[in-house]
């Protein structure tokens, strides 16, 4: 069924982060999204996660509320989003105008052997099937008014605008291919990653 999924995640993330300015703060969910944002160019304004599965949107929310003049972009996967699904409602209740959430949905738990997530089609074989869970509909139902799904190359410019400039909260589901990609590892020390982001944002640790 991967023929349905056409977009390359690294190209999507490179487009999302192209010409990033210092006021673009990015949280990358654990696993492939952390490697993706690092592949696009590691910056102190990036927090690539090595753990904390399910907490990515909440980190973005706390940061967006603390820094209303900066743009906060959460880039995470379908597995992480499913684990923290309630955080969509929590974020919606706060109406953060500077928060954008982009979920790269390859319908797999990519770090653990590509087991199907709930977003996979229900009509597949026993090792590949899910429930056809639509995270954009869940986000909309959670109270995030501006939601959309991206499946085609020609939607990328609109996706970038939504992620970078449109008044939030914004949610975009991007259906991406299942790919085996080189690991591009960010720094692993959590305290260092936190301190460098605070230094970049606040001018002190």
């Amino acid at each position: 069924m991967t023929g349905r999924l056409k977009l390359h995640r690294r190209a999507v993330v490179k487009a999302l982060l192209k010409d990033a300015t210092d006021d673009l703060l990015v949280i990358g969910g654990l696993g492939q999204c952390a490697w993706d944002i690092t592949d696009a160019g590691d910056r102190p304004q990036h927090l690539p996660l090595w753990g904390g599965m399910g907490g990515t949107v909440m980190m973005g929310l706390g940061l967006a509320l603390a820094q209303p003049a900066k743009r906060v972009l959460v880039i995470t996967g379908d597995g992480d989003m499913l684990m923290g699904i309630g955080s969509l409602a929590t974020a919606a209740a706060q109406r953060p105008t500077n928060l954008a959430i982009v979920v790269l949905d390859n319908e797999k738990f990519g770090e653990t052997g590509n087991q199907a997530t709930h977003t996979a089609s229900p009509g597949l074989g026993p090792t590949d099937r899910g429930a056809g869970t639509d995270l954009a509909i869940i986000a909309r139902g959670s109270g995030i008014a501006d939601c959309g799904t991206v499946t085609e190359e020609d939607q990328i410019p609109d996706l970038v605008r939504a992620a970078r400039t449109v008044t939030g909260p914004v949610f975009r589901l991007v259906k991406v291919m299942v790919e085996t990609l080189p690991l591009v590892m960010p720094p692993k020390d959590g305290a260092y990653l936190k301190d460098r982001m605070r230094q970049a944002i606040l001018g002190y640790v």
Binding site: L25, I27, L47, G51, G52, G54, G55, T56, M58, M59, G60, L61, G62, L63, A64, L65, A66, Q67, K70, G84, G86, S87, A89, T90, A93, Q94, G190, A191, L193, K194, M197, R198, I201, L202
Partner: protein, 173 residues
């Protein structure tokens, strides 16, 4: 002054800006004061672990956060509490106890009795309060240690202080 108001004023005095909570009857007055505050954002959660990640985001952006919950919610936080230890950021928790002194709902006993131990197992410092006159000083000490020491600190408000939940007047089936 009522100890609930003392907690609010202590948090306000420390400059806490983000208040993450899953409601508890014991916290209801404090939650309401935070909701009505001009300096604080009161953030209702679907599960307590959201507070652990939200507080990280707040700290990255230069704001102080606190998490309010009842002891049954502590169990939901355990894996996410590792974030505070790994990234070394403040995680101040104020927890109202259930399954503790005089509790008559046995479904609360298991998590209530395990609460201090599981917090300590995750490296969280724990201070227990069972007298109204100790609340302000304990919350103040915990806030100082969390925000200055960039670590996880929990204050447990025991049922000797808050009272056991009263089920009187509820009809038996």
């Amino acid at each position: 002054m009522d100890w609930r108001d003392q907690i609010f004023e202590t948090l306000e005095g420390h400059g806490v800006r983000q208040v993450y909570y899953v409601p508890d009857a014991g916290h209801s007055k404090l939650i309401q004061r935070c909701q009505l505050s001009n300096t604080m954002k009161a953030i209702v959660l679907t599960t307590e672990e959201e507070a652990m990640a939200g507080a990280l985001g707040a700290w990255l952006g230069g704001e102080k956060a606190v998490a309010l919950m009842q002891s049954s919610g502590v169990g939901n936080c355990i894996n996410m509490l590792g974030l505070s230890k790994t990234l070394r950021y403040p995680m101040l928790m104020i927890i109202t106890m259930r399954g503790d002194f005089g509790e008559i709902n046995p479904w609360q006993y298991s998590m209530g009795q395990a609460t201090p131990e599981v917090l300590k197992a995750m490296g969280t410092m724990v201070f227990e309060v069972d007298r109204a006159e100790d609340v302000q000083a304990t919350v103040n000490a915990a806030a100082n240690m969390a925000f200055e020491g960039q670590t996880a600190v929990a204050v447990l408000l025991k049922q000797k202080l808050i009272g056991a939940k009263n089920f009187v007047g509820k009809k038996q089936p």
